[in-house]
Symmetry: C2
Subunit: 311 residues, 2 copies
């Protein structure tokens, strides 16, 4: 195969305290950039930019490095690492934020190391849109820029976000965010509105109901994998984004079909993510595990290849 | 092509009064068997068994007949036709039953005409499980028996329903019903439980989130078609069932791949159904319309046919 492209991942690195139906878990490694880079690293060389505090163990950075993730861009600042404390409902369908401590993340200014600036693939995790723009100002003509965002920025920073939309190729958000960003309830119309504002490609995630891709070729749908047991949905969306971008970087591709196929890898990695607390399961996924799940996905949508109406 | 098999459809024929966000609609032709037979008739010869009252216009029966539906089995009884009055929420995601008048349907005993008894495909709409059994007692070794049911029978007639489960090949229900029938929240485990009780194949419908098929070959997923506008979800599930069985009857097939492909036709016809009030849109669907939507469905899930992990 070709030498894979590199993927720049910028975003939060955190500790999560999770109250799950299955128990309470403290100091779980979290943050969007963490999940995304761990997932992507199974497929392509990832370069991580984020900030951690004094309380972040060097051994955790070593773990990321051992996965082939370049951590030169992980800054260590005076203070504590970003912390989130959340509680999930019994059916895991909703969650409540009990506490959010930005800590060193509050004054985070992404500094892209010189070597990272020519990364062909760029994943902008869910951070302040002004910071996403600062990242884009530091990189040189990537092949594909993907961004995530959230309701907090959609309602609070609409102008900055509008600038981000104009500069990204692919936006990956969930259905609730798509509705809020567009002010439109119907998903298909919401997608058309958002795409008209910049991103040529838009992926709308629907959790256990899969994800839709909207681009110039039409609409594409990938299901979520139906699992026997879901343990922790935290980070599934970030794992999806990392898996997708990792697939594209691995194959040095940005074509519509590559995006469609990448969504299976994204969905497969997200399906591993929810099988254990935090990123534990994704950390353990081998290439053989991933291949097996991709085969299961292919079977899940295999209709024998003949749909034409025969008369 | 082969001469299509015939499909026997047994169930309710009704008038619905619908209060939709788009307005109020009175005396809308409804009932599960109506929707199922209208959808199926686009693909295969359907034979309808149900009951109507004095108030049911002969011209409506003529309309069904003009579609190739055999209405010999439609009994006209003294009294009024089954009536349902419902109101939908603004987002069409939920509905409230305001009134249900069983009328002639209250004493409905399905009598299968002699000519219908060898129908190779049998669709048992959502009626009392004892009546579903009475139908099965009147037919001769069909190739495939499909049944629908609902929460009312799951909680109220568990023993009779258990007997139905033992005698059907394919059960088609929604996710809420699957959870109630099995007492299991996880859809995959719920499916295993239900299949162990009889039906070799189980389809779980999830409305706008598509449908899952569980059988001996594994799991298969078909999405719902993402529409720009949904007008009325009434009868979409029955249209799905009719479209699926119509496809199988048309191709004289019961193989796992045929079921998987049939689900696209089911989902395509259901996507037409919700585009207008009642069965109006499905009544207007031409073979060309259906072919075009099937092509759109094929595009919706087309990933270029290569998912294998390449290293």
């Amino acid at each position: 195969m070709l030498k894979p492209d590199s993927l720049l991942v910028v975003g939060s690195i955190a500790f999560d305290d999770l109250e799950m139906p299955s128990g309470s878990f403290k100091d779980v490694l979290g943050g969007a950039a963490t999940y995304s880079s761990i997932a992507a690293s199974l497929l392509a060389p990832a370069r991580l930019v984020g900030v951690v505090g004094n309380d972040f163990a060097e051994s955790t950075i070593e773990m990321l490095r051992a996965r082939g993730i370049d951590t030169t861009g992980v800054e260590r600042a005076e203070g504590k690492t970003f912390r989130w404390h959340g509680r999930y409902a019994d059916d895991l369908m909703s969650r409540t934020s009990l506490d959010t401590q930005l800590n060193v993340f509050a004054s985070f200014k992404p500094k892209i190391p010189a070597l990272y600036r020519t990364s062909p693939f760029v994943l902008l995790g869910n951070i302040h849109p002004e910071l996403q723009i600062e990242v884009l100002d530091q990189v040189e003509r990537p092949k594909l820029i993907m961004a995530d965002t959230m309701n907090f920025w959609i309602s609070g920073e609409p102008k900055a976000l509008e600038k981000v939309l104009k500069r990204v190729d692919l936006l990956v958000i969930n259905d609730e965010e798509a509705r809020e960003l567009s002010g439109i309830q119907n998903i298909r119309k919401a997608a058309a509105d958002i795409r008209a504002r910049g991103p040529k490609s838009l992926i709308i995630k629907r959790g256990e109901h899969g994800a839709l891709l909207f681009d110039d070729t039409g609409v594409f749908f990938v299901p979520a994998y139906p699992l026997e047991q879901v343990v922790d949905p935290t980070g599934a969306g970030d794992t999806f984004a990392g898996g997708l971008m990792g697939y594209l970087a691995r194959h040095c591709e940005t074509s519509p079909y590559a995006l469609r196929r990448g969504m299976f890898y994204a969905s497969a990695l997200a399906s591993f993510c929810v099988e254990d607390i935090g990123s534990k399961r994704v950390e353990r996924v081998t290439k053989a595990d991933l291949s097996a799940r991709i085969e299961a996905f292919a079977a899940l949508v295999d209709y024998g290849g003949k749909l034409a109406f025969v008369d």
